[in-house]
Symmetry: C2
Subunit: 343 residues, 2 copies
């Protein structure tokens, strides 16, 4: 039996889903992994909250309200430092918004957590895409882990597939359909819609953001691919080194032409090198897939990734919910994989 202290930073859609999930899965994790996941505090911009244990959160008298904001327990006096000092080392769960220009507030949170001896599990991409090497070196020097499943494609397994299922195999190349918005738009355009109509529909369904630039310009795919490459291949690729071409405003005729050729058009993140002597490259752009390509059937807002290896051939994985609950499940998985005893 092991107690795992958890501090949750960020309380937006993913943070709340994680909060709900850890209540729901408290007993499951105790029974199946012998882990007592104790949420000790929540921090957000508008204040913070100190908890004694997840048990308390589970009790009906506490947090038995949908309207968390109205709780009187939110105070502004408690800082991350206070919480890191107050409890025995555990995991800081970072659900703050991604900022790929500054990496903040994620960078400061992760650095502070690691310096104080806490593991980091993150759904936020900014700090890792900008300062991966520095943060990973800090973690290594302290024998700590940074896990980022929730940042790379929510519930679609990417990093752990590479780490565990491909252990001992050398990765020769990676291709991924990593952005639900782009894939939804391309799927609907193949069914006859214009770009504008398909985007509007995606926004209406809550798949695409009101401002879809980050997704449709290919940046989300680029960021995810950089995170995956840097962790699995040990590279230190910068976002500025990635060739990024998105699907913004793509003409219907391009999609129709692909169809006439009997092919499917997908927005691909790719990671490859020409040969062993040359450095790894990451590229984002449209790819024309044959119908027998394992990812050609990844449609709608689904995602998928394929690894080409030296000993195992190719291995493709697809699916995994991309909603906040799926991202929360990825965060929970990372915590379990840090602490589990029974492998």
């Amino acid at each position: 039996m092991e107690k795992v202290n958890i501090i949750l930073v960020g309380f937006g859609r993913v943070g709340r889903a994680f909060f709900d999930l850890i209540k729901e899965k408290y007993d499951y994790c105790r029974k199946n992994y012998d882990l007592y996941l104790e949420l000790r505090g929540i921090l957000r911009e508008k204040g913070s909250i100190l908890l004694t244990s997840t048990r308390k959160v589970l009790s009906p008298a506490y947090f038995a309200t949908e309207d968390l904001d109205s709780l009187a327990d939110w105070v502004s006096a408690i800082s991350l430092d206070d919480l890191l000092e107050e409890f025995d080392k555990g995991v800081v769960v970072d659900c703050t918004p991604t900022n790929i220009s500054t990496g903040e507030p994620s960078y400061s949170i992760m650095k502070k957590a690691l310096e104080k001896g806490w593991h980091v599990v993150t759904a936020s991409k900014g700090a890792l895409v900008l300062k991966s090497a520095e943060l990973r070196e800090l973690a290594r020097s302290k024998n700590l882990m940074i896990k980022a499943s929730g940042a790379t494609a929510a519930a679609l397994p990417t990093l752990d597939l590479g780490l565990y299922a491909l252990a001992g195999a050398e990765i020769l190349a990676i291709e991924g359909i990593l952005n639900g918005t782009c894939n939804y738009i391309l799927t609907r355009m193949a069914e006859g819609l214009t770009y504008k109509k398909a985007l509007e529909e995606a926004q209406h369904k809550g798949i695409a953001e009101p401002n879809p630039s980050y997704d449709v310009e290919g940046w989300d795919t680029a960021v995810k691919m950089v995170l995956i490459a840097n962790q699995l291949l040990g590279t230190d690729i910068k976002l500025s080194e990635v060739t990024v071409r998105g699907i913004k405003g793509i003409n219907k005729e391009v999609v129709e032409k692909a169809q006439r050729l009997g092919k499917t058009l997908k927005l691909f993140g790719k990671c490859y090198r020409e040969n062993y002597e040359l450095p790894w490259k990451v590229e984002v752009g449209l790819a024309l897939l044959d119908h027998n390509h394992p990812l050609s059937q990844v449609n709608g807002s689904n995602k998928g990734i394929i690894f080409y290896t030296d000993t195992m051939g190719w291995i493709a994985v697809m699916g995994g919910k991309s909603n906040p609950r799926g991202a929360a499940a990825a965060l929970l998985k990372d915590i379990i994989n840090i602490y589990r005893k029974n492998q």
Copy 2:
């Protein structure tokens, strides 16, 4: 840096591929996982061989021959007990032939290894399908691991996907295309061949065995599904409890009818329960898949598996070489995942 002593039992196609792979990957594992994988001995029916280290095997003076059988070093005086006593505890790699009636020789090998404090990594299915609960209990009591990736679908990740990538999620159901021979035959029949012609072609290509009964009658799929279920769901399902319907002699008209309906016919292993109160069931039989089913595009001798979960939605994985080298890569992966420090 950790030395891992390895004893290889069984020296058929998979055993030899493992022998080759461990030579090829010795330096890779040292560099990437800080593990020194030291092959200490090989046992087979016709004799055994004692090695001092993998390094010695790597040296040109030793084993620099394709014709391993002719080596004078094979002796009959060394037993598994001798090797287990001779070296510090490590891993016994079981590549003996599968026997689903007796579980031997795998059962005796695994039991002996565990009793002496060695982990077990196996490509052999018999012992686990017959005595899973007993062997796993023995391993647990000694804080040892039994890993069976090589027994469940060679290089297609099944068990580690369930253990690591789905950690914390509850599996609601599993479906798998787990037998390359059956899938090849069904794929070629959908392209117009008769069962007889498709089987002959599969045999000619080395995909199907000269005696294909075990595969085409569905037993291979059943055994794999039982292994997967018993490890991932903690069940103790017996092979005798599985409803098994294979594809032997299947009529061309059945396949044509599926096509007229716009569907694909696959041999599915399924694991599910009607509801939480009822026990898990494993079934093997033909399934009629819609073209949007994630496994509908798993064609030829490829394999695939899909997990339905409570928090992550569905996750499907496909591919992975099913040749001896792929199986050897699965064995190597299991060894690394037992010993790795950097997760």
